[in-house]
Symmetry: C2
Subunit: 258 residues, 2 copies
């Protein structure tokens, strides 16, 4: 961090710059540094860590009453982080926060999440980075119920940093009393899709993606799914290096015999 | 696998159903089972593990001279896998192969890759799954130079399976003699973006994403980057569970004090 300067905090999300979740997040981090928001100009749910290579990106500053510099872009959440770091900001951010996502990013949703894609992108640049999500799909969800807990986690990360090669996936329950915060691992599970089938005016079949989460380890008590259901805000430290190092030696023996 | 039936092998990619890479992959796996191809109707490079939630998906069978069932979809690579497993196939695939990608998916490109997003999606359903990529961006790249090596790896996986919770990211060098196959870990690095700046007819600035890879551990000899440069086909076993379990206990102590 440059001396005599407040930390530069980059804020982004995947629900769009105008969403209630990002407004709550801006309000939460504003006391801790200089805030620049670079966020998508529309919702990018399920966008994962996608980047835009086939068309160009625009970036436009938007006047706002939150007292922060706010830039919208037609890019994905990960694009917004790339644009911010490489083009739009005059110095490297000291921290990145992404969210607050309108809906869960627990368990395997970490792979589909644009919120987490953005947080991971910042982590690739060595920037301490957290993705925050609220387990509510209600239009009127009150994000401020979770922010006191998220703020504790953010302050901890500001104070002690986040280990290199790691970023944090933080989720908060909704509609139940919050008991505290727990660090834990990602639950094993999958989405079981039930594609809705429809016919278009030319009688072509098309499908709407819809599904339900299947918990593959419903007995486990050390996972984010379990802890969220039981009233805890969960913090999953996630790896940038996703290699399964424990299986390399055994596999190497097998491939050496090919 | 159902008795008396050949393995059902799902083939997909991110370069589009018409690409040379997928044709080479189809040819490679065809002797080993019943092949169904479900692949994007256009290129989806950099699409990561994105899924489509805002518009519906179409799926259309395309006549072809490869002797396989080939279905194109307007979905992402991960959508194609979801559609195949949940809607288009009459039984669960025994195996999924994705690629051959026209370009590298080594190191941190694993996070941006649509090829790998599709392979990861199949792995979430418990299907042994491999993403294959060739380190060439030449229009005339000869994918058949790599397939004898990829076939060895595919046969190994068919024979011994792939551990639950793991999928394989396989890359092959191009333009140099291939010395063999190595299992290894993902190289630490990042893409340094150099956004090209342009003006549109209304004088609005826009940016094209472009960049170069920065190797953050150029001295390491046990990574995919190093081994690829030195003539090896690399196999990185990748984790579905990306939690950093080794840091959970220490972090839990810190959050319990909040």
């Amino acid at each position: 961090m440059t001396k005599n300067k407040k930390p530069l905090i980059l804020v982004t999300n995947d629900d769009g710059y105008y969403s209630k979740g990002i407004a709550a997040l801006i309000q939460m981090v504003k006391p801790y540094g200089d805030i620049v928001v670079v966020a998508p100009d529309q919702a990018h749910s399920g966008m994962s860590h996608a980047i835009t290579v086939k068309h160009p990106l625009f970036a436009k500053e938007i006047p706002n009453d939150m007292g922060v510099k706010l830039i919208k872009s037609n890019g994905t959440p990960a694009d917004c982080v790339k644009l911010a770091i490489n083009k739009l900001l005059d110095r490297k951010p000291d921290f990145c926060v992404s969210g607050i996502n309108h809906g869960s990013n627990s368990s395997v949703s970490v792979h589909y999440s644009g919120t987490i894609g953005a947080a991971r992108e910042a982590a690739l640049y060595g920037i301490p980075s957290i993705g925050f999500s609220l387990l509510s799909y209600d239009h009127d969800a009150d994000f401020l119920l979770a922010t006191p807990w998220f703020e504790k986690i953010f302050k901890l990360a500001l104070k002690q940093g986040i280990e290199t090669g790691i970023y944090w996936n933080v989720n908060a329950p909704y509609g139940i009393d919050i008991k505290g915060i727990r660090t834990c691992r990602q639950n094993n599970g999958r989405w079981i899709e039930e594609f809705l089938e429809r016919k278009d005016p030319r009688n072509e079949t098309y499908y709407w993606l819809t599904g339900r989460f299947q918990n593959d380890e419903p007995e486990a008590t050390d996972t984010d799914e379990y802890l969220l259901e039981n009233g805890y805000v969960t913090l999953v430290p996630c790896l940038l290096d996703i290699s399964c190092t424990s299986s390399i030696d055994k596999l190497n023996k097998a491939v050496n015999e090919l």
